[in-house]
């Protein structure tokens, strides 16, 4: 993983996108996340809102924007379920902050790094979800290490395909 200094960081390009992309891509991710599990059934080992949160947080290199995007995506996910609103919100808020914080220190143009980050942050998100549900709220939650690994792998694979496509949408000077 190539680490960069603060001086180099200032020189790096901050990715910019049309406003519609900021609105439609997260919306599309939420809609597909709600619709696709009906098609693939129990094999829905992916979390599209998380992938999109990580993408924009890394690309913008801004922890604040990553935090806000993670909070919105997580709260929407919670609102669509019958579970308490805030569990996914906390998990994705934290992930957005971490991705934005890491984005200012690494070379985010490297696909391998982004995919690996996606894998790691998926595991972090799952861990926070389980921690909040079981230990803070005292609710029953079933978790399986293999399922979480599969979900993280699914997110990494989607990132591998989706990130280059989303890169094409950015505004270039």
């Amino acid at each position: 993983m190539s680490l960069l200094g603060a001086g180099t960081r200032r020189d790096m390009e901050i990715r910019r996108y049309p406003v519609l992309v900021y609105a439609l891509v997260p919306l599309g991710a939420l809609v597909l996340q709600a619709w696709l599990p009906r098609v693939v059934g129990r094999y829905a080992w992916f979390d599209l809102p998380l992938v999109i949160t990580v993408y924009f947080a890394l690309g913008r290199r801004n922890p604040l924007q990553g935090t806000l995007m993670g909070a919105v995506m997580g709260l929407f996910e919670d609102a669509l379920s019958s579970h308490p609103i805030g569990i996914n919100g906390i998990a994705k808020t934290t992930v957005g902050f971490l991705a934005g914080s890491v984005g200012v220190r690494i070379d985010v143009d490297n696909h391998t790094i982004r995919v690996l980050l996606n894998f790691a942050l998926s595991l972090v998100s799952s861990a926070i979800y389980i921690f909040v549900t079981r230990f803070l709220l005292g609710l029953a939650v079933d978790w399986n290490g293999l399922t979480e690994l599969l979900r993280a792998t699914g997110n990494a694979v989607i990132a591998l395909v989706l990130f280059p496509l989303l890169d094409r949408l950015q505004v270039r000077d």
Partner: protein, 390 residues
């Protein structure tokens, strides 16, 4: 102070957002007297508003995608994939005819049950009206087992209405929006329904475990419960009417928390992970719905056709009888029937009385009423056996 917030702006925003969400969670989850955490069945108004907004934003594009998929499926299945449809149609017509006859018999039994229940002061509720709805989306998480349907309060839906399919129960309506509704599936951890095992008549509470399996909890260990037994709704939960299929016992496991109790794992009757269309029970009444009554009338008419056909056969046999000679004349009273006419010259003669009675001859004790051989004198009756002199 200003420089502190400027310097740690990102961290402050993160902490504020996390704290706000933690407070929100604390409002939604409450502690029970037994020390366990649980969710309120009804959301606080603020939470409900957030769910309404999320549904309003996500549902339209989701329904559009679903409608496109359904349109393609419709085109394919109704205009392209029509092999064997005619034969299937014929088979189904025969099945419907047969089932109508069966239904007539079953409805008669049900009516008798209704009368008995009325005598006992107990009223069974029947599904009176339903609303068909299409499932167009899910919660998007495998940790939350609920889904969305394309009917809302404008279609008469209300919270806690039962949702079923032809195969069995599915769940209950949780949140109702103007044109959509969220359904909590029976295999969610926050779900619950009263059920009864079909043959052993053991009652229990159905719920979902954390991995989305159906299980019946709170049952004392019982050797009679075996895999394969069918489970139905018990009707005591005020949501599901009695007697709806729930599933089949898959296995029985020990309750990890209580020694004397067992958990029964079920295989659901309805395909909970691939639902397309469901029925929402909008009302239950202690009488049959109009459609059932129409079906009953049709079944009765069809049932009446069978004895009519049998009657026709009887008439045909009577016609044949008229044409053939017989011992029964339908125009004569019973005592004048040819069968009872003793003047018939073709009657077989009685056997002659023996001249010398022996042990085989009828005695006075004989019930036949024949004259004893000892008292008899030779008469001018024709002898069939030649007498031989010593």
């Amino acid at each position: 102070m200003e420089s502190f917030f400027t310097r740690y702006r990102n961290l402050v925003v993160l902490l504020v957002l996390l704290m706000a969400q933690l407070v929100g969670l604390a409002v939604q989850v409450r502690r029970t007297s037994s020390g366990t955490s649980t969710l309120d069945s009804a959301d606080p108004s603020g939470v409900r508003l957030i769910r309404l907004w999320a549904s309003a934003v996500i549902s339209p594009p989701e329904r559009l995608i679903h409608a496109s998929k359904m349109g393609m499926n419709f085109t394919w299945s109704n205009y392209v994939d029509l092999v064997h449809v005619r034969q299937q149609n014929e088979d189904l017509k025969k099945t419907v005819d047969r089932m109508r006859l069966e239904e007539a018999a079953l409805l008669e039994d049900a009516r008798e049950g209704q009368r008995l229940q009325a005598m006992l002061g107990f009223q069974q509720k029947y599904i009176y009206s339903t609303v068909a709805a299409q499932v167009y989306g899910s919660s998007g998480s495998d940790r939350s087992h609920d889904f969305y349907i394309d009917k809302g309060w404008r279609d008469g839906l209300k919270p806690d209405m039962a949702v079923i399919t032809a195969e069995g129960i599915v769940g209950k309506v949780r949140d109702v929006f103007p044109h959509t509704a969220q359904v909590l599936a029976v295999n969610d951890t926050t779900s619950g329904a009263g059920v009864i095992l079909e043959s052993t008549r053991i009652r229990g509470i159905l719920r979902g475990d954390a991995s989305g399996r159906l299980e019946i909890v709170g049952i004392l260990s019982d050797q009679r419960i075996q895999p394969g037994e069918h489970v139905q709704t018990a009707g005591g939960d005020m949501i599901f009417p009695r007697g709806l299929p729930v599933g089949v016992v898959e296995k029985v496991v020990r309750d990890p928390e209580r020694d004397a109790f067992i958990d029964i794992i079920l295989k659901p009757a309805a395909p909970l992970d691939r639902l397309d269309e469901v029925l929402v029970i909008t009302s239950t009444e202690p009488r049959f719905p109009p459609q059932d009554q129409q079906d009953l009338a049709a079944s009765k008419a069809e049932e009446g056709a069978v004895p009519a056909a049998i009657k026709d056969q009887v008439k045909a046999s009577e016609i044949m009888a008229e044409k053939l000679p017989g011992l029964i004349d339908p125009n004569l009273p019973p005592d004048k029937q040819p069968l009872n006419d003793n003047s018939n010259p073709n009657l077989a003669p009685h056997p002659p009385l023996p001249l010398h009675p022996d042990e085989f001859s009828p005695s006075t004790n004989d019930d036949s009423g024949a004259t004893p051989a000892t008292d008899s004198t030779p008469k001018a009756t024709p002898q069939t056996t030649p007498r031989r002199d010593p």
